[in-house]
């Protein structure tokens, strides 16, 4: 018997987190993610958990740090400006090797920006979530059902490697309702290491655990950074997720994630109907990035088109992954504007016509 429910993306995140054992939520309300804390405030007390509205995002992320240090599963959520406020705490979480889940339901920026959907935090999420040499495990769902599954996956990866995970979505995915089946979404669970490092009290039975991100001795700090980089290498080789659709014979490959990928799928269907061979590679993990899949596609594709709700933040990653062997162009809207499938289709046709005219010249 499946548990198919019609839910908002934000609600599915919260329910999935509770289902996979997250009983602690600290956050501060902000559109368009407030349903996450609203859901947590209602549900967590019913299951013996704690939902606390902090006085600010800065406080919330430090409460997450404290709870994570004690060894419990914990999360926070916010939207773009709120996540910027959390960046110091995120860096401390990384420096302390603490697992947790942070959700960013993005809105238009910079600054206080707007409240409509955007993907303008890609570079922040994948390259500079905080100071220091750091990465988060960054997942970008494209449907409400996938949001639930990736919450579970992100928690498990965070616990396995002792790093924070970030779920990067946007206002449209957070606000929209779709059916979600929690039984299938949450079926992929893994055996997790014991949190024998946690500062959870032990009645004097062992040497005390210290959770800390301060290393005044440079060689000790360097060792801790390099040890973390080794874990990052393992994550890069074993935790990449992506989807390929119609990519096998494609001349044009669209690279898009999250809600943009959905819009592109509609455009691809229309383009295929008029005989244009176009496909999609959808990164599901934004870090680690699906470099190998893009490298393989560069063997046969003639052109890469990046589509995002920003001004082209992922373009460099596509160029690196494909070794710039093929032209990479960009199409997108930002600030809360969404392109229509027809807009993307027009871009595909333009590229297709260019390829054809080059063929004639050659």
């Amino acid at each position: 018997m499946s548990r198919k429910m019609l839910m908002k993306g934000n609600e599915a995140i919260a329910e999935a987190a509770i289902c996979c054992g997250c009983l602690y939520f600290f956050g501060y309300p902000i559109t368009p993610q407030s349903e996450i804390s609203e859901y947590m405030a209602k549900r967590l007390p019913q299951v013996g958990g704690l939902c606390l509205q902090a006085e600010s995002e800065v406080a919330a992320i430090n409460m997450v740090l404290g709870a994570a240090a004690s060894g419990v599963r914990v999360m926070t959520s916010s939207s773009s400006p709120g996540v910027s406020l959390m960046s110091e705490g995120i860096s401390y979480l990384v420096g302390s090797d603490l697992p947790c889940l942070i959700c960013n339901i993005q809105r238009g920026g910079p600054g206080l920006g707007g409240i409509q959907p955007a993907q303008q935090d890609y570079l922040q999420a994948t390259k500079a979530a905080g100071h220091g040499d750091l990465h988060l495990y960054v997942v970008a769902p494209a449907s409400v059902h996938e949001m639930a599954g990736l919450v579970c996956r992100a928690f498990d990866v965070a616990d396995t490697y002792r790093i924070p995970a970030l779920l990067l979505a946007d206002g449209a995915l957070g606000q929209m309702m779709e059916p979600v089946d929690f039984d299938t979404a949450l079926s992929d669970r893994r055996n997790l290491p014991k949190k024998d490092w946690s500062a959870s009290g032990h009645g004097g039975r062992r040497k005390k655990n210290v959770v800390n991100s301060l290393y005044l001795s440079p060689d000790e700090l360097e060792r801790s950074v390099l040890a973390r980089q080794e874990r990052y290498s393992i994550i890069e080789s074993s935790e990449v997720l992506f989807e390929e659709a119609d990519a096998g014979d494609a001349e044009i490959i669209i690279v898009a994630y999250g809600i943009s990928a959905r819009i592109c799928k509609s455009a691809i269907e229309a383009a295929r109907a008029i005989g244009i061979r176009v496909g999609l590679i959808r990164p599901i993990t934004l870090w680690p990035y699906p470099k190998a899949a893009l490298g393989r596609a560069a063997e046969h594709a003639r052109h890469f088109l990046v589509v995002e709700l920003n001004t082209g933040q992922m373009v460099d990653d596509v160029k690196l992954a494909t070794g710039s062997r093929r032209p990479v162009s960009f199409f997108g809207r930002c600030g809360g504007m969404l392109p229509t499938p027809e807009d993307v289709l027009a871009e595909i046709i333009k590229i297709h016509d260019n390829i054809r005219s080059e063929g004639v010249l050659a």
Partner: protein, 177 residues
């Protein structure tokens, strides 16, 4: 087969709720479905809309630029979205608040004075359910009994007092000629 339904009106008319009932019934029937609300600094009396897509296949973009069905609850929504309805599409308009008629000849338009019916029957808050009943009659999108089953299953026990009014409102819309 894909139906792209845009529901639009004033905040407070139950626009999002109406869309959710359609999405819920489609889900119970095993169809693919998406429901996307307008959100923002919305308020009672401001504008509200939601996009519902019901399909036999996986849904790409949840955003509707050209609806197959427009359910317009008020005049500003009618003015704004009437031109975007796809060729061969359908408009259902609440004629209590929409004085003019569509002049397009490539779509079909149907009018129901839903606000007046609701007021006359003491169902002031149920304009949305009357519109849903009319939608079922005009489009046969769902079987009436199937829809009412799905609709009532979503009403919690604490609000069982609302069941009779909703059933009556749905019937009034369904039987309007």
């Amino acid at each position: 087969m894909t139906s792209r339904i845009l529901i639009a009106g004033f905040g407070g008319q139950g626009i999002l709720f109406a869309g959710k009932q359609l999405a819920g019934c489609a889900m119970h029937k095993g169809r693919h479905v998406s429901w996307l609300p307008s959100y923002g600094p919305e308020m009672r009396g401001g504008s509200a809309s939601c996009s519902v897509i019901i399909s036999d296949k996986e849904i790409g973009s949840p955003i509707i630029s050209q609806p197959d069905i427009l359910i317009a609850f008020n005049y500003p929504s009618f003015l704004r979205f009437e031109p975007s309805v796809s060729e061969g599409g359908l408009i259902l308009a609440n004629s209590s608040l929409i004085g003019s008629k569509s002049e397009r000849d490539d779509i079909s338009a149907h009018y129901i004075p839903a606000t007046e019916i609701a007021t006359a029957e003491g169902l002031d808050g149920s304009v949305n359910v009357i519109m849903l009943g009319y939608l079922l009659y005009v489009t046969r999108l769902f079987d009436y009994d199937e829809f009412i089953g799905s609709f009532l299953s979503g009403i919690p026990a604490s609000k069982s007092a609302l069941i009779e009014g909703n059933k009556k409102a749905l019937r009034l819309g369904y039987e309007y000629r």
